[in-house]
Every structure is written in structure tokens, then in C-alpha cells.
């Protein structure tokens, strides 16, 4: 039993088994791609669809209303690969004379058969070697570099885009540009497809639910924005349609960690300033003027921090806004992970290499002790009232 997909071929409706549909779509995508430069592209594609429609009709009668996958394969084999009319490099028209032309190869993550996220699969496909070698190499590297390779894996998992469409799969393997090759590819695809269908249905449902949630959230945010006036400079963004392009994804994958690191540095510096002010009443050796109460200086610091990081945040969100909304989550997660790691690293570096920070942290228990068991009264007393009185 196969799921059936209804399609429109140049104005004719047909029902195809799902794997057949996948193969046909791959064929037409390939045809459209190879006719990219052709001024009569639309017309040729219409002719081809019409011709496929006529062939489909041959397989149907009153009692047979669905085209099977085998029949689609036969039709496509009969059609032959679509060659750009002017190209000199095209192979002979007879089947069998197909050569593997080098499609532009790109590094993608491949979900099919992946252990984790498909980074190794993608690298293996790119280098045209067995995935096991890549995995073993990664594990050995991870031990040899005390875990750095594992971190690199995580970063790569975020940076390298997923191969989702047939075209992208072809690019991931540097696949033969012939339609026949794509059909083979689609066939392989549809075999693993069935096994994953159940799981996938659940996943799609979940995804849609998330998307609905996200869209609702976004609408609310957008409705609120002009009233709250918090982001007046943000232009109205068209609804996200396309997933991010390969380049956009990679750019976002690279810029997100950079923002996260800058953000972490700002945070560590800020935390140092705040702590030093609370415990010693000085900032980088500069004594706070007496007339500024501690609560006001905390407030000023918070506002300052907000002002410094606001442009960073805005930049980051502009990046997201121009991308497909659900991708927000993965880049948000990347930002979080990198931020956390960078914060820990900076804090550690500062503790070990800047004597002032070292002294401050070591003094922290004493300072805390002096502030006493934490209740509002003693806190206010110690921090502010006490000081105010003592200075009067």
C-alpha cells in the first residue's frame, strides 16, 4: 500500500504513488535547473509536462486510476534526461551513454543514516569516503584534542546547512547531473522514506505546532511593537517563506558565535565592575562619588550594560528576522551554548591572569560575610544606609 499524491501536469490531474511522485518531482526539478539559461524554459517545461501527462494517460483506465512508481520510472526513462538545447557537453541521446558530470559539490549535513546530526555523513559524502572513517577520525581527534573536536562538531552542526531538497542532496554528493542519476537518488530516498514515515508524521505534526506557536508569538510581538515603541526602527518584515540559503545559513552560523563571544566578554566585564563596586565601592580603582547611593549605581550599571549590548542583540535579531522563523531556535541555541562557554572561559582567564579580578573573587566570601545573612533590611543597612550615615 502506498500513499497517493494528486498532481497537476500542465492542466491535467493525475494521481501518483508517493515514491513515483518523488521521482517525478526530482526529474522536473532537474529539468528546470538544466534549462535555467534557456529563454524558452517555461514553454519547454510545459511541453515536457504535457508529454508526461500523455504517457500517464496510457496507463490509466476506468478501473485503474493511480499511476504506480514503476510506471513513473518507465515514463521518465522514456522521456530521457532534459538537456539544455545549446549545450555542447551533453551526452548522446541514447541511454547508456551517461557520464558523471561534476555537479557543484557542497558540504551539507545529511540526516539520512546520521548517528547524531549528520555532520559526519555530510563530510563523508563530500570527500566521497565511507562515513565510518569520518566517525572514527572524529572520535580519535576528540580524545587527542581533549574534547576540542567534539566542540568543533557542535559548532559544525550549527553552521553546516541541512540537505533537505533533492537538489541539495545531489550537491552534497556532488551527484551526477543526469536525470537518471536523480531518479536513482530519488529511489534510494523513497526506500528509507517508508520506514521513517510514521516517525516523520509525528515530527511534522510537532513542527507545525511549533510553527503555529511561533507565528502566533510573532504576530503578538509585532502587534505590540508600535504601541510599546520598544523597536521603532525595525521595518515591517515580510512573512518568512523560504528557508535560509546556503550562504545565509553559513553566515549566520559564523556570526552567531562571534556575537555570543562579544556578548560574553561584555557580560564578564560588566559582572566584574558590578562585583567590584558592590564589594569595594570602586570601579577600576576609581572611587564612586559619595553622593551616588549604591542602588543608583547598580541601576546605572544595568542601564549601561543594556545600552552596550542592545546593538548586539538588534544585529542578531535582524539576522534571524531575515531567515526562516523556525531556524531562530537553532541559532538561539547556538548563541546560548557559545555564550555560556565563552563566559566561563573569560571568567577563568580573568581569574588567573588579572590580579585585580583574582583578588576580588577571593575576597568575595568575606565581602558576602560582611553583608551578613541575606535579608533586605541588613542588605540595605550595610550597603546604603550605613554608608550614608557614616558619611554625614
Amino acid at each position: 500500500m502506498e500513499k497517493v499524491v494528486s498532481i497537476n501536469l500542465n492542466g491535467n490531474a493525475f494521481q501518483l504513488e508517493e515514491p513515483g511522485y518523488v521521482a517525478l518531482r526530482a526529474y522536473l526539478e532537474r529539468a528546470a535547473a538544466s534549462l535555467q539559461e534557456n529563454p524558452d524554459r517555461a514553454e519547454i517545461l510545459a511541453d515536457i509536462e504535457q508529454s508526461i501527462a500523455e504517457k500517464c494517460a496510457r496507463y490509466l483506465n476506468e478501473r485503474k486510476t493511480v499511476i504506480t512508481r514503476t510506471e513513473v520510472d518507465a515514463i521518465l526513462a522514456e522521456m530521457g534526461p532534459v538537456e539544455a538545447g545549446d549545450s555542447q557537453s551533453a551526452t548522446g541521446s541514447q541511454a547508456g551513454a551517461q557520464t558523471r558530470t561534476d555537479a557543484p559539490k557542497r558540504l551539507y549535513q545529511i540526516r539520512e543514516g546520521a548517528m547524531l546530526t549528520g555532520v559526519c555523513q555530510g563530510i563523508a559524502a563530500y570527500l566521497n569516503i565511507d562515513v565510518t572513517f569520518v566517525r572514527v577520525a572524529f572520535v580519535i581527534l576528540a580524545f587527542a584534542t581533549f574534547g576540542a573536536a567534539a566542540l568543533i562538531y557542535v559548532v559544525l552542526a550549527f553552521i553546516i546547512p541541512y540537505a533537505d531538497t533533492t537538489e541539495e542532496h545531489a550537491a552534497a554528493y556532488g551527484f551526477a547531473a543526469t536525470a537518471q542519476g536523480l531518479i536513482e537518488q530519488a529511489k534510494r530516498h523513497s526506500e528509507s522514506f517508508r520506514a521513517r514515515q510514521e516517525w516523520r508524521r509525528g515530527w511534522h505534526w510537532q513542527q507545525r505546532a511549533w510553527q503555529r506557536h511561533w507565528r502566533r508569538h510573532e504576530r503578538r510581538m509585532r502587534a505590540q511593537a508600535p504601541v510599546g515603541g520598544s523597536t521603532p526602527s525595525m521595518p515591517p518584515v515580510p512573512p518568512p517563506i523560504a528557508p535560509p540559503s546556503y550562504v545565509a545559513h553559513a553566515v549566520l552560523g559564523v556570526t552567531t558565535p562571534i556575537f555570543a563571544i562579544v556578548h560574553a566578554a561584555a557580560f564578564v566585564a560588566w559582572a566584574y565592575v558590578l562585583l567590584s563596586m558592590l564589594t569595594t565601592g570602586t570601579i577600576f580603582g576609581w572611587k564612586l562619588p559619595v553622593e551616588i547611593p549604591v542602588w543608583a549605581s547598580i541601576l546605572i550599571l544595568v542601564v549601561l550594560y543594556g545600552m552596550i549590548t542592545a546593538p548586539l542583540k538588534a544585529l542578531r535579531f535582524i539576522g534571524y528576522e531575515h531567515q526562516y522563523a523556525p531556524y531562530h531556535h537553532s541559532f538561539g541555541a547556538l548563541h546560548g551554548v557559545v555564550w555560556l562557554a565563552a563566559t566561563a572561559l573569560f571568567a577563568w582567564l580573568a581569574y588567573h591572569h588579572i590580579p585585580e579580578v583574582h583578588a576580588l573573587i577571593d575576597n568575595l566570601p568575606n565581602a558576602w560575610h560582611r553583608t551578613g545573612t541575606f535579608n533586605v533590611e541588613t542588605f540595605l543597612h550595610d550597603l546604603e544606609i550605613d554608608r550614608l550615615f557614616s558619611r554625614q
Partner: protein
């Protein structure tokens, strides 16, 4: 290099000539052309023929007209333009020239 790989570009280069010849003989539609070709060494598939025809039409060598068919939607029937006829004549002459050369070299 296997001989079939040497013959493929030859066939490919001649395909345009052959198509012009077929269209010159009679107004035809694509399925007719494919059927005619299928029995020859020029057997061709739609994937190749449609782009080639569109190229010929851009070069104003062929043109088509829509004709109703008894089964299904209207079909495109192709015919030669005046320019196409001239080019076919040139190609014919050239082909005879090549044949003559080949025959002479055999002696």
C-alpha cells in the same frame, strides 16, 4: 575510448540536420518524430528533442501551429520556415560534399 563514445557526438551533431529533414517532409508533431527516429540510429527522447526544437524555433528555422487532436489536448505541429528550408539545402549540400570527400579518400 570505446567506439560508442566517439559515435555519440557524431549523432548529436547530425540530429539537428535529421530533424530538419523530417520536418521538411511533412508537418509533424513530436510523437511522430520520435517514432520515426526510434527505428534509426538517431533514436531520441523527449528530454533532448523539446529543447532542440525550441532552439530551432528561436533561430527561426522551424515554426509550429496548434492542431486539435481526436485524443486529448491540441498538439503542436512543426513545419519549416523559409529560412529553415535554405539552411536545410545548405546542410544537404555540405553533407554531399563530405560524402564525396570520404569516397575520394577511400580510393
Amino acid at each position: 575510448m570505446p567506439i560508442s563514445e566517439k559515435l555519440a557526438p557524431l549523432r548529436k551533431g547530425l540530429l539537428e540536420f535529421v530533424i530538419l529533414k523530417i520536418i521538411a517532409a511533412d508537418k509533424v508533431y513530436v510523437a511522430d518524430m520520435l517514432k520515426l527516429l526510434s527505428e534509426t540510429e538517431f533514436a531520441t527522447q523527449e528530454g533532448t528533442l523539446y529543447p532542440l526544437l525550441s532552439k530551432l524555433r528561436r533561430e527561426e528555422l522551424v515554426d509550429y501551429e496548434w492542431k486539435e487532436s481526436e485524443a486529448g489536448p491540441p498538439r503542436k505541429y512543426y513545419k519549416l520556415t523559409a529560412q529553415g528550408r535554405t539552411q536545410l539545402a545548405t546542410l544537404n549540400d555540405y553533407w554531399k560534399e563530405i560524402n564525396r570527400t570520404l569516397a575520394q579518400l577511400e580510393k
